[in-house]
Structure formats: C-alpha cells, structure tokens
C-alpha cells in the first residue's frame, strides 16, 4: 500500500485538485500525518458493526491519507431496512469509514454534524445484483469545519442506486464521489444541492464510470451561492468501449446570489462506446427577474421572494429521488436550514 509520506502531493494542474489544493484541506502541515480520532457513529435504525479497516483504493492523495489514519470500518447492515445514521464529528481531527453492502432494498439518511476542525469521511458501498439502495447525506457540520469526503460505490447487475447530498455545513469541503457501474442494467441517480453562504468553499468532484452495457446514470448539481461563497462542480463521466447503449447525463446549475459569489461547473465526458446517449450541461445565472417580480406581485418582499426562489431551486435538486424517506429528509433539513439563515 502506498505510504502517504512517500506519495507525491498533487499540484493544481491536476483536474481533481485544480480549485481546492490538497494543502488547503489537509488537517495540518501537508508533509505530516497527525493523530486523528474516530468520529462517533450511531443509529437506532440499523445494526452497525466495527471491523478492521479495509483500505481504500490508492488512486489519489486523499484516499492514501485516509488509509493512514483510519483504523476501523463501520459496516451497516441495511437490507430491507430504512432509517437514519448520525455521524458526530467532534474534537480537533476526526475520521470515519462507513461501508454499506446492499443485497435487497434500503433507504438510508446519513447526518453529518459536529464541531471538528477537520473531518475525513470515507463512504464505500456495494449495491449488489438486483438491489435497490437510496442514500441521502446531509452535511450540517459547524461553519468552521474542514471536510474531506471520498466515496467509492460499486453498482452490480440490475442494481438501482440513488445518492443525494445536501451540503450546507463546513467552511471548506472537498468531496470526491466515485461510482462504477460494473454490471449491465445498473442505474445511478445522483443529486447534489449546495448552499453557499459566508465564505464557504464547497468542491464536488463526481466521477461516474460506465463499465458495462445498458447502464444509466443521471447527475444533477444545484448550487446557490450567496455572500463570498464559492462552489465548484467538476464531473468526469467515462463510458467504456464495451458499455454500449449507455444513457448518461450530467447537469450543473448555479444560482449566483451576490456579486462576490463564485461558481464553477465543469462537466467532462470521455465516451469510448459508439451507441450511447451522453449529455452534459452547465449554467450559472443570477435570480430570474420574472420569477422575482411574480412573487413580489403576490405580496412577498424582495428578500422573501429571493428566499423562496432559492429554497425552490435547492428543493428541486431532490425532486427526482424515488425514495420518499430520503427526499423528505433532505427537503425538511434544507427548509429548516434556510429558515435559520433567514432569521440570522
């Protein structure tokens, strides 16, 4: 296994680290491996088992680093079960590795909260043949926290997987979410909603790899950026030459709410098969004036109308979720968060 101290720290010419260099999300000095505690993982709905840590694929510096600091893997027994998992990240630097293997059907909402200065999260999972898994991740970390998140999901034959992320917490986040469609007829739907406020910096890199024929993937990232926040969405969609009849789409939409907010949306495609449908789109725009006028003509002040449009924009990120449990949890937490923001 590659040692972190032997690994080369990537520079900003690499696509993955262009907007958020590794040095900005490392918990200390970039040439050190600090002591890291385990985050507390609890659930009243699922049986959780701690096992010896199963190393992550050493494809990038974040995974290599997490391999050095993680000691245990928490395995979620999820089959035919629905509910919530809470991960509390308290203290200076903490980390967690959660592994989900789904053989039947499950709906899981994972809540991230706590005041850790640094939080490293690894999520891995196998959605096995014919299984249906829906996972929602709600990031409500303290506004001072830095988070590094890496995901590795494998979808096998006829698997159905929904992965939703509601990103509202943390000061600086780097998420590298990778999914491989390894079995024919596998289907992935991924939804991400980002609320940028203050000086929040939120970087999502999403890799989707179609390795078999008749696979589908759909990605939607909606980011609403206020104040001096910065959202980044980079996509890397790969369709192997054997993955004929793949249908894949990526859409990145940014709503810019202040002159100082920034957003990048960079979908990239590598298509090696010739009988596929692959589409991508990206758009950044301020609030639509006609929407604003319409709501104000119904008695809402400009601030109230703006809040309603922003909430709708982010809520709409999750409209495509089939899981009622996950969709309602995401939309409810989002509404609560935005109301708290409005009250100040």
């Amino acid at each position: 296994m590659t040692s972190y101290l032997d690994a080369t720290v990537p520079n900003r010419s690499e696509h993955l680290w262009r907007y958020t260099p590794w040095s900005r999300v490392h918990p200390g000095r970039v040439d050190s491996v600090p002591d890291v505690d385990s985050a507390i993982i609890k659930s009243e709905d699922f049986e959780l088992t701690n096992k010896t840590f199963e190393p992550l694929a050493t494809t990038d510096i974040a995974r290599i680093f997490l391999n050095e600091i993680l000691r245990t893997t928490t395995v979620v027994a999820c089959d035919n079960n629905n509910g919530h998992i809470h991960i509390h990240a308290g203290g200076h630097s903490v980390a967690a590795h959660l592994h989900i293997a789904c053989n039947s059907a499950a709906n899981i909402v994972i809540h991230l909260h706590g005041e850790a200065d640094w939080f490293g999260l690894a999520l891995t999972g196998d959605i096995n043949a014919n299984a249906q898994l829906s996972v929602g991740i709600i990031n409500e970390l303290s506004t001072d926290s830095v988070m590094v998140r890496v995901d590795d999901w494998s979808l096998h034959r006829d698997a159905r997987f929904e992965l939703a992320t509601l990103s509202m917490g943390g000061h600086r986040n780097k998420s590298d979410i990778r999914s491989a469609l390894k079995g024919s007829n596998a289907s992935l739907k991924q939804f991400i909603a980002v609320h940028g406020h203050g000086t929040r910096h939120d970087d999502h890199h999403i890799e989707i790899h179609h390795q078999q024929p008749h696979t589908n993937s759909h990605l939607l990232l909606n980011a609403a950026c206020d104040d001096r926040s910065h959202s980044i969405g980079t996509g890397a969609l790969t369709i192997d030459d054997v993955a004929q009849h793949t249908d894949a789409g990526q859409v990145f939409r940014n709503l810019l709410l202040s002159p100082s907010s920034r957003a990048e949306a960079i979908p990239e495609l590598e298509v090696l098969a010739n009988e596929v449908a692959a589409a991508h789109g990206a758009a950044s725009a301020p609030i639509n004036k006609e929407q604003l006028h319409y709501l104000m003509s119904r008695g809402l002040s400009k601030d109230e109308a703006t809040s309603m449009i922003v909430e709708g924009f982010l809520v709409d990120s999750f409209t495509g979720l089939d899981s009622d449990l996950v969709r309602e949890a995401m939309q409810t937490r989002l509404t609560v968060h935005l109301e708290c923001q409005l009250i100040g």
Binding site: K289, Q291, S297, G299, L300, M308, L314, D316, T319
Partner: protein, 247 residues
Amino acid sequence: MTEVLLRVENLHVSVGDTPIIQGISLEINRGEIHAIMGRNGAGKSTLANVIMGHPAYEVTSGTIHYKGKNIEEMEVFERARAGMFLSFQYPAAIPGVQVGTFLRKSVASVRGEAPSPRAFRQELNEAMKQLDMDKSFLSRYVNDGFSGGEKKRLEILQMLLLQPDLALLDETDSGLDIDALRIVAEGINAVAKETGCLIITHYQRLLDLVKPDVVHVLIDGKIVQSGGPELALKLEKEGYDWVEALV
C-alpha cells in the same frame, strides 16, 4: 358613494428609448369592470404591468393614483399588499416551490397575518371547488409543467384567495377551452362586484360571460375609443380598421 380605485392621468411609458404608452387616461371605480381591447403590440399588457409596478418599464410622465394615493414610489409587493392584483398573461414558473406553500405565504403577506391553518384550508378548498381544481395542484410546483389552462386557473385561484380591491387581468382567457373559460369567468364575476376590474382581452367570448361596464380600444399606446359593451361586439364583427380610420 362612488369610490375611485384607479386614476391614470396622461400616462407615458417607455422601455429603453421606445415609447409604448403615449398619454393614457383612465378611471376605474369600485364595482366597475373595464375591458381593454386592441391589436397585438398596442400596449395593453404594458399598461397592466406598469400599473402593477414592473421595474422594466419607465414612467416618463403622467401619474397613477390608487385609492387616491400616487403609487409611483411604491414597490410591487407594496402595491400587492395595498390590494392590487395582476393576473399574468405568462405567469413565471417557480420550480421547487409547491403551490400550497406559495398560496399560504402570499395570503399571509397580503393580509398582514397568517390565517389559521384550518381556516385557510377551508377557504382554499372552497376556492378550488369553485374553479373545479383538483387538490393535487397543491403539491405541484408553481406553474412548473402546467398547461396554459392550468396556469390561468391558478391565477384566478390566487385572485379569489387574495381578495384584491383592484384586479388587472391580462389575457386571462387565452389558453382556456370553453368549459374552463366559463369556470374562470364565474371566478372573476365572484370578485368583480366588490372590486374594480381591468380586463385585457382579444376576444368577445370572455366579455359574453363577464359583462364590462366600459370598453376601451387601445391603438399605438393611446385609448382612441371608449364605449359600452356594444363596442366590443362591433370590434368582434368589424375588426380594428374602422377605429384606426378615426385616429
């Protein structure tokens, strides 16, 4: 006693350097229904939007008084809270915002306090029944994926709930089939007796169901002819050429 709700005096309006409205004067009393007819591009929708305070239009001269007050400095939401309502020709879609939530917040904003959930639900049920609307409307996103007719029904539903003093209806009849037109017309008639109404339309068919007190013909941003309901019938029969000949 007659209450003047809207008084427009020698109004001139431009978009950029282009003059659209060129000297309109108009007075609407409570309980009156006025209809404005005219060719495409005559300035009908501009007039409605300017009265409601759309920021894209610049009033270059003239005044608009509502309930005796000059409303030039009032923002759109202040006009709405003062009892003005515009039914849009092309209502904006607001993805992610459910109709039920939107209606509850609008009603609370315009009335100055939120109605009790029970009272609001009852009021909403009655209004939706009146407009033959299914309850599934409430969980859909505002105007998102709505047909033309559904959009217009939602506009009238809002009018029934917001109970305005002055209703501006911009081509509310467009996109409606015969049955929907009748239902929408009943909705308009339900509030018209207590309000002032300005109806913008191209067609006599709405005015067969909602009887106007006054009909105005707008050509090139000016009211060139006003009269009773018989004027609309004549326009339906003979078109606008004879009016233009009078200018």
